[in-house]
Subunit: 144 residues, 2 copies
Amino acid sequence: MNISQAAKATGLPAKTIRYYEEIGLIQPTRRDNGYRTFTETSLHQLNFLARARALGFSIDHCRSLLALWEDRDRASADVRRIALKHLDEIEEKICDLTEMRDTLGELVRTCDGDGRPDCPILNSLSQSSSGRKYHGGVALARRG
Amino acid sequence: MNISQAAKATGLPAKTIRYYEEIGLIQPTRRDNGYRTFTETSLHQLNFLARARALGFSIDHCRSLLALWEDRDRASADVRRIALKHLDEIEEKICDLTEMRDTLGELVRTCDGDGRPDCPILNSLSQSSSGRKYHGGVALARRG
DNA sequence: CCTTGACCTTCCAGTAACGGGAACCCTTAT
DNA sequence: ATAAGGGTTCCCGTTACTGGAAGGTCAAGG
């Protein structure tokens, strides 16, 4: 099975699959012409990764989970620990975002949105930062 | 006022302030020795930026908001439109994260976390992806 | 005058997780 | 022979910074 077939089968872009190989998450074999070959096992791994990534696990966490998955003797507790840690992070993010949403929602609510130059949103933003939290800048930033 | 004073006054790291100058968000003047000088106006801008960033506005949105803020004739509707768009994105993120949390929480709940090798979390992850959504990989990823 | 230490400067590299696109090879069909 | 549709590697760009090196500046102390 070639990479585009594997991509179709797992829902992952071919680029992503190549990337996963590059960083050592998977090791598909090669044919004589250099093409990657994906077996049933590769597909299982890729599906595992796709699902874990969809649940928000980082690549590093995915690496650990994948190793645990392939270790017949692993302890369930190890997996649980990673999942719990991730769950905590998700909770915190939801909390931050909810706070953002409430604050911003309140501002938007009080903004007429008409043609007049007065704007409660800008007024609030220009106030000197009481209650503002600096989260390291990037933690709450948007992507894409 | 030097950069470290400005940093202390705004809560932004000096590195970040230099970065904001580099990408053209602010234009502090320079002294003869090359040191940046921050005035009351600079501090207002930096506070504005810090607050907008804390609300999750992207740098690009911040740039627009800052321009609108400094435009005495701007229409309130312009600001409102940006804020609403951002609000939508926040909502969607919260939604995605909540879904993640619920799914992962359910898995963790059914996991004993003992020493035995059987693990419901891994079992679920290894199932073939029904109901899984591929969000473009990065949208839901963690940072830091 | 010299040194020390705390500032300040610029520049370069790295982060997470890919996506876009160029340049080029392989296979199959016409 | 050539065109289409795979595949490959490699490099750059993305976001919003952070860390660190190399070096200039300034005030105080000996």
